[in-house]
Amino acid sequence: MLVRRFPRAVASIPALVAFVREFFAARGLNAERAFDVDLVIEELFTNMVRHARGGGDAIEVTLDHEAGLLTVRLRDENVEPWDPSAAPPPDFDKPTHQRRAGGLGIFLVHKLSRDVRFEHANRITTVTARLEVAS
């Protein structure tokens, strides 16, 4: 398991990418799959940065891998209840160029993950996504 805290800013994204590469190299995972993990982390992280009210200076990110499943967990402390899964998904009935861009990020997270869980308790939001990643 690898755990690290990242400053609450989109400028943390390059450090998050390096964190994912570090984990993939240490575990000998297929590097091609790291891009899907990047996308899941970026979308969840930027949602927390932009939409979570309150929150400390940093968001904690954990990576783990067991039995072909990679677990991504983001933990945001001292925040108001927040559930991005409540955001409306992209409206696929509208012509593409008329759709809102919002909601697409979380939609992509669900597309790339086997399952996604949002929890909020004691002013802590935890999002856990699991992706199938072979060794």
Binding site: P14, F35, D36, L39, T46, P90, T96, H97, A101, F107
Partner: protein, 94 residues
Amino acid sequence: MFKLEPLATGRVKLIGRLDAAEAEQASSVFAGLEGPIDADCSALEYISSAGISVLMVTYKRLHQKGHAFRLSAVQPRVRNVFIYSGLAPLLGVE
């Protein structure tokens, strides 16, 4: 890092990672594109919803002026994001 490299007239090359950290600067560069544009994506390694949004704004702007904005040579892992977003047909991604 992300870079938009001009090639011949009407042709540009997208290089690197178009993520939320790069989106703001990228959108100001894309805002300078005029006329029909073919964007070579062979060196586009990664795109997130923030990057998709930049391309969508560019598509809308050029489309309103009657110009095409098409992507070519999109890598498979990036192509999936366009397909999931429902943007693949619009941007000519096969």
